[in-house]
Structure formats: C-alpha cells, structure tokens
Amino acid sequence: MSSLSEPDFVARREVLRLIAAGAAASLAGCSKPDQPIVPAVEDKDGDRAGRIRRYATTTTLAGYGRGATALVVDGRPIKLEGSARHPASLGATDLFTETAILDLYDPQRLRAPAGPAGIAGWPMLERALIARLAGSNGEGSVLLTGRITSPSLLTRIAEARTRMPGLRHIRSEAIGDDAEREGARLAFGRPLTMRPRVGEADVLVLLDADPLGPGPDQVPFARAWADRRRAPGKPQRTYVLEPSPTQSGICADRRIALHPALVVNALLAVAGSLGAGNSSGADLPPDPAALVASVIRDLNGAQGRAVVMVGRGQPPEVHALAAWVNQRIEAPIDWIDPVDPDPSGHVESLAGLASDMAAGRVATLMVLDANPVLHAPPSWHFAEALERVPLSVSFSAFPDETAMATRWRAPLAHSLESWGDARSPDGTASLIQPMVKPLFGGRGALAALAMLDPAGPRPSDHDRVRHQWNAIDDGHWRDLLVAGVIEGTAAAPVPPGDARLVMPAPGWASAATIITLPPSPTLWDGRGATNAWAQECPDPVTRQVWGAALRISPGDARRLGVDDEDLVAFAGLSAPIKIVEGQADGVATLPLGHGRTAGGPIATAPGTLGAGTDAYRLRGPRGDWLSGGVTLVPTGAKAHTPRNQKDFALDGDAASLFPVVAPGEAIPKPPSRTTLLGAGPERPPDAPQWAMVIDTSACIGCNACVVACQAENNIPAIGPEQIGKGRDMHWLRVDRYEHEHGGGYQPVPCMQCETAPCEPVCPVEAPVHSAEGLNLQVYNRCIGTRTCQANCPYKVRRFNFLDYAGADLWGDLDPAPVTAQRNPDVTVRARGVMEKCTYCVQRIETAKHEADATGEALVTPVTACQAACPTQAIRFGNLADPASDVANLRRDPRHYALLEELGTRPRTTYLAKVRDVGDGEGEV
C-alpha cells in the first residue's frame, strides 16, 4: 500500500517550481501556447514521473490523530485518503481529512512572521524570544496549546520545562471533554474515557449525544455502528433524544425532540427503572415519556447488550449517572485512561490564564495552533487580557482571531509539511510525515517549541520524532514510516471499579428560549471556516452552505411569526432563521465556528454573515455549550442563506424515491416493462461492467464522499453567490429526505444509466457510452447545449456557467497555489462545459493501463467516494463478475434503483434504508 519513502527525498521537494511549470492539465487547451518541457537537473523521480505514489502520514482533529495516506504526484500531494491500519481511519476519512489538502495550498496561509513592526523574518522573532527567555527559568511564560496527544511534542514540552521550571503549559481545546472527564471522576473517582463496543449493542440510547456526527471518533464509531446494522441476525435499535436534529438523530430508528434540560429526567427515569431510587419531579412531556418507556422496556431485555451515551452538552452529574446505568446493564464498554494526559479542565485552565493575563502575571505567551480569542467565553474579555501580555506570539496557519490579537504571529507548517506524531482517541500512535517542504515558509510545532526553549539542544524535528520512537536502525525507521501506525500503542482497557450512584437534580424547561451550541459538521470548532471546500459543503441537517442559521422549531416560528431567512436579533447577535422539523420547542440551535471575523477572505466571505452568527459569543462564563435564556426579536430584515436542497419532506408517491423498510423486509420488485428500444451495439465479451451500490442504511450524511470527489476530480468551489443562484458543482450530492416511514441520507452521483437519456439528445456526442457501461462525458467535445442536463431525470450533471476553474474566491490573494492541488489525471473543465461524475474513470484507466502493461489481471479500482466512506456505504465493482461486491449487493432484497420506472436502467443503485421502529410508533 504505502510505497517506500525516504525522508530526505521527500523533504527536498520543490513544489512551487512545478506549479510554475503548470502541473495541472487544463481544458483551455488547443489555443494555449505550448508549455516548455522542464526536466529536473538531478532526477529524483526517475522512471516514476507523473505517477501517483502513496505515503503514510497522519492528520489531526482536536489534537487526535487519524491515520492517512497522502497521494503524491511529482512531489505534489494532491489528495488524502485513509489508512487501513489506523484504528481512527480504518481506511476511510472524514470531511476534515479530505479538506486538509486544500489547507496545504491555501493562499490565505501566513507566509512570514509578523511583529509589532509588521512583516519580519524568523531571526527577528527568535531574537525577540531569546531576549525575553535566555537564561530565565521561564517564570511568567506560558505555552498555550490545544489538546496535545503527540508523544514527541509532550516530550519536547517536558524537556523545555526541565530547563525552565517556570514555564507553564496550558492546554485548552475549543471543543473539550470536561463534562465526560468530570462525570467519570464523579462515578469512578478518576477521569476515564468511555469507549463503547457499539458492535455488541442491540440497543443504543443516545441522550443529546451525536456520536455519528463530527469529531475525532466519528469514523470508528460510525463504522462499527454500520457494520453491526449490516450484519445478519438481531437488528440493532438506536434511540435518540435530542434538542435538535443531528446526524445521529436522522439515522436513528426512533428519535424524539427533547429540551436539553429534560434529558436528565429521561436518564433519571431509566435509572429509576434500574433501582436508582425515586426520581420525583423528573417529569417528561407525554411523547418523550412514551419513548423513554419503550427505551426502558428494551433495556430490560438487553442486559449486557445495550449502551447509553450522554452528550458533551450535558453536565457531569448526568454523565456520572449514565456511567452507573451502563454498569447496571453491563454495557459493552471499555474504559481507558485519557489519551490526553493533561488532567486539567479545558475551560478552567483557559479561564485561569485569562485572569492571570488580565492581572499582568503573564510576561510571555506562545499560542501554538489554538484560537482562544475566538472560542473563549465573551465574558472573560480574553482579547483585552491578551493586550496586557508584553510578548505574545501565535503560531497558526491562518491569520485567525488570536493571530491578529497577539503581538507576533508566525506561520505554522501544515501537517504535510512537518514531522510529528499523534495518538488516536483509542491511544494508537501514528507518525506525521512531511510530503513537501513548507510551501509558505512555515515551521512545525516542534520547531516552534525550539524557539520557546532557545537554550535547548537543536536536533532536527525529524531526528526528535525518530528518537521518540527509538528507531535506531534505518530499516526499522523505514518500516515505521511505511506503516505510519505504530503497532501495540493502543491504550489497554482498565477496570473502572464500581460506579458511584450520582443522582442529579431533575431539570425543567425554562420559559425563555435557550440556544444549544453544537460543533459544526462542516467547520468543526471553526478551523474549517478558512477552507473553501468545507464552507461549500452542505450542512447535513439544513443543507446550508457558506454560513449558519439559527434553527428553531416550526411551533416557535409560528409563535414568533418568522419564516426561513428572516433575521432575528438575540443576545447581541443577529442570525437568519431556519425552521427545522424535529427541533424541540423553546430551544434554538446555532452551530459553532461560523461568523468568523478573521481568518481570511473565505472565513469572512460575504454571506457568512460575519460576527452575527458567531455562536461562541453565546457561551456562558463557565464555557458550557448552552446559552442562557434569550429572547428572539424579529428584525423584519431578511438574509440570504444559500442552500443546496430546499425541502426534505417527500409527500405521497415521491416517498418511493427513498424507500424505508423494516428489518428483513424486502423491496417489491417493479414489473419488468417491455421496451420498444432496439438493442444497442454489442460489447466486448470480457469487458468489465462497472456499477455502484449505495447502502442508504449505512449512510450517515457526513459528506466525506462529497469532498473526496471534489479533491479527486478538480471540482472548484464556486462561492455563496453562485450557490445562491441555484448553481452548484458537487458531482456527488447527499440528499436528505424525510417521510412518514422515516428519513435519512441518499448520496446521488451520476446513475451511469445503461439507456442514458442524456446521450442521444447531445448533438455532438459529448456524452457517450463506453463498452464498460460508463456514461462518459467528453469535456473537450462538449459545446454546452445543456440538453443532457435538461433531459436528466436525476439532475446529476453540472455546468460551468462561468470560468469556475479559474474562479478566485480568495479576494485579492493569488489563487495560483491552489492549482497545485489539482489531479493531473483529470481534465480541468473550461467555461461553458458540462461535467459530471465519471466513476473516477481516471482510476479505472490507470488500473487498465497497469494491467495492459504488466499483462496481469485488472485490479478493481476504488472510487474516491468509496475510499472516503467511513461506513463503507458505497461499493463499486465489476457487475460482469458474479462474485463481486456489487453483483452480490444487487441480489439483496433491499436493492432498488432510483426512478426505476423510467427505464433508464441505472448502474448506480441503492439498498433501502432499514428502520427498526419496534412496537410501531414511528416518531421522526
């Protein structure tokens, strides 16, 4: 899988030269003057020029590592895929890994250190730090970071602190896990991390928890969840009680909206049924009460095969009680010691720092890849406190809020530019290996720390990491690099001991509206906001792009007399309304990370509505993920909120677009219709027949496939204005549907119809069929009549209304670096050309060429979306081979084709969504 990689070789890459040489193909074709041939002086690539090579590395989210494989062509990393060996990747990726590659080439990145006197070189910054730190014991110096799981970083920090005992390291992740830790401490007397074995659970109860949603643990959890639901035998039933629809809620078998303050009552009821004593005053509205009743019923029947999970937003006591409940039902859960060794709380430590700074007790502050100015609760006045620090440096990739507030800001290298390592949420360590020299002269975290510790020895980052894993001999080191993952570093489960029964006080729904503040599924804690792909990626719940909206229930909307896109003012913010079915009354929801005020033209793009939607400003002084009571005041104004899908409800016959079945139920096969069409031309007997089957039951709407496709196929982001005009370029869209039988997600790429309606209507044979059943689109032949899309019942074709490939979303920054990300095997489409999903034909052709050249059998290629999918919902293969995945799945009783009655005979087909409502009440 990973080819052999020599560190020195990788590090010597000169990418910008290749950019200049115009590495990416372009359709602006014929008329363009010839590009000259520029061979290297000393050839590193040798006979491997122009071929994609794969290197193991690691990307991080919230400090946790997720194994990845970098696809590198002629020294340019062009895509990130998963690493099969890594427990937090399992070969798949999530949205954040997929978007990371664009960050690498993002023109908004900081390019040089800048100080009070403006742009400065590294030496000046170093001098400034030395002047302050040389000889000192670090008194009054603070290192502020996000979560750090990297062993070599931790070692490095420890090393620095042996020399400078006064140096304080404060770690505060924006989206922390304080409640979980505190809850565990209450229950077991020490912080422990809960790792449910989802596969073993027949019943899964999610109380205001969204494990299928974004986060460092999304991929492994979703995989286990989907595998279990795919497996034959007893179906798994997932209950969700939550204030606002999340991916988990949408995928659940039974879900109900519940005020966050009442979640504790639901848990108390459950605990009560398990003998936790009386839970008086723990009232629930009738419907949730009914649901909780069936939860209790199911839990009783599922001793040892059920798990209760509580969300980040709930207080520690609730987590503690959940721990007790789980122990009573002998839930399949591993408890491990926290992978993040820092015992302090994310919020309190940052609060401490804020007051210290305010009190002038901090002389030197180095912020390393953190953005406290954005996420610190407003009541702390963090920015003002920061003013009082004489010497403050922020190492960050982008000019974010903190970088703009500190005296100095310095470019931090991308993880594909620097050496390092990280642990996954289960403790497994993996290596971060650079693919290119820092493109914009940034420095990695290790190098940054070296500046904080001028007295320390200065081995290269590479040597530090290698030493960390004491890879003495080169062979061992190379093996480690090739594997990426370091075997046997996973944290072993520990016996938690008996859980103490903690009875939290019952909650009651306050009269005033409260606002829940979940992390954004596309921007996470806001670091995705600088990324054009992430911004243009539709929110899994509202399908909104380039900005956030305040989600309220239809009932509240009626009471307020507001409609979608009406601006409402509240607590100093103002955001447009999005009415969401299944939102609890009296609760509004505003995802975090939007409404950035710094970070570059993308983060602050028009349409993202600026600070008005910055949910962090609603954080209470204790930094919790609920606002206090607010009143929503309609302003009468409207704000445009671009969305890729307007409504999700399927009425009447339309429901057949998204069939939902009970476990074991089959889809009725439609009567085979006779057609008047004559037979098409015959195909070569041994030609593979490509097809795709998508399991809507496994799809969690995470959008990893959407962005994977974007990265693989040179699909440009086109910006809020264009999307607002009803145009979009995603070849693969993930539709969200709701109807009486249930709801869920349906990824829709090109159907590759065998009797494609788009082909015979084109006057110039731009869309034609290949012998392998591919519905090809020949860009250079297309003249842009758009007849194909007009006649496509699935509307999966995308048209370049403007010169999107050359589109510059980065304000007055030169977008040239972005072109270096482009896949040289895929044509860059010109203006006025129709494009669409090709089943990654470039991968198919590469595979065929290899087979032809080597005379070996054809290896079935993997499409980008398939590779990305965390739940393996997307399967691709050769229909002509009866043993292939797709051939088998097509025989599944849940198998169906979209709009089969039209007789287009799609090659992309689906497995129906399975929903286990048990005793029938189908709340959605």
């Binding site: 069409l677 004559g678 098409g680 195909r683 494609a756 082909e759 015979p760 069929h769």
Partner: protein, 171 residues
C-alpha cells in the same frame, strides 16, 4: 427586309382581342409581354411541366443521398454507443433527410425555373424596345413580324384592334 410592329394595350381584354385580331389577319406574333400572367392560346415558349418533375426528383435524390450519408457516419465511420440506442436508429435518422430534401427540391426547382424561363439574360435585345420596359408595369405589348412595305396596313390593323400605341421598328 423585315420589320417589327409593336402594339401596346391598356388592359388585358384589349390585349387578348388585339392578339386574336392579328392572328385572324394571319400576322405572326413574335413576342408577347404582360405585367402579370396572361395565358393566350399556345403562343409563347412551351410547357412548364418539367419544373415539377426536376424539383421532385432533385428533392428525393438529395434526401436519399443524405440518408445514406447519415447511415454511413453513424454505423460505419465512427459507431458510438449512444444511450444503448441502436446504431442504425432509422426512425430518427429519417428526420434530417426529409427537411434537407424539401430544401433541395426548392433549389432544384429554382434552377429548373431559371433555365426554363431563359433568365440571367440581362442584355436581351428585347430590352432595347421601350415598350417592353413599360410592359413590366402597366402595358400589355406584343410584336408582329411584317415587311417594311405594308407597315401602314399593320398599323391600321393594330389601331383598329384597340392598341393605345403602336409603331414599326425596322432592323
């Protein structure tokens, strides 16, 4: 030496009468010009029937050729699998040839007409006769062959036939 007697008439009826008279008088009508179609017996250059046949033949032939061409491009030159439709989708291949056939018929007819009506002769001797010019707007004109000798008689005959104006031209 021969001469030409030219007679102009104000309207169709008189014109017809004049021609008839000249006929009876055994004079040979050598030319007729009218500002709109006037059918007078068998005088004038033969039938126009061939135009129909040439036009129809031209149309049919081109349509057939065109269909053959389409068949060749779609099934021989570069056969494409277009949405699994048959290579030779004759039903839809018929449409373009029909349209083109109609055009070809028109063109063929036009050419036939030009040849048949002896057009494109801009400097035809007839244009030297002033009467012919007026014939294109208001007058009906015919020419009789006669000898210079009996010019007078002819003029008398024409006058009596109701010619608004007549004269003898000698060559």
């Amino acid at each position: 030496m021969t001469a030409l007697a030219l007679a102009s008439f104000a309207d169709e009826a008189a014109f017809r009468a004049g021609v008839a008279k000249a006929d009876e008088a055994g004079r040979r009508v050598v030319g007729l010009w009218s500002p709109y179609p006037v059918e007078i017996g068998a005088i004038g250059e033969g039938t126009a029937a061939p135009i129909t046949w040439i036009s129809i033949a031209g149309g049919l032939a081109s349509a057939l050729l065109f269909y053959g061409f389409i068949w060749w491009t779609a099934t021989q030159s570069y056969p494409f699998d277009s949405g699994g439709r048959p290579l030779h989708s004759w039903q839809v291949f018929l449409i373009a040839p029909i349209e083109f056939g109609a055009l070809a018929a028109g063109v063929a007819g036009m050419i036939a007409f030009i040849v048949r009506a002896r057009l494109t002769r801009l400097h035809h001797p007839a244009f030297d006769i002033s009467e012919v010019e007026r014939a294109s707007s208001e007058h009906f004109v015919f020419a009789l062959a006669c000898d210079a000798g009996d010019g007078g008689a002819v003029l008398a005959l024409l006058a009596e036939a109701g010619a608004v104006h007549s004269r003898i031209v000698t060559r």
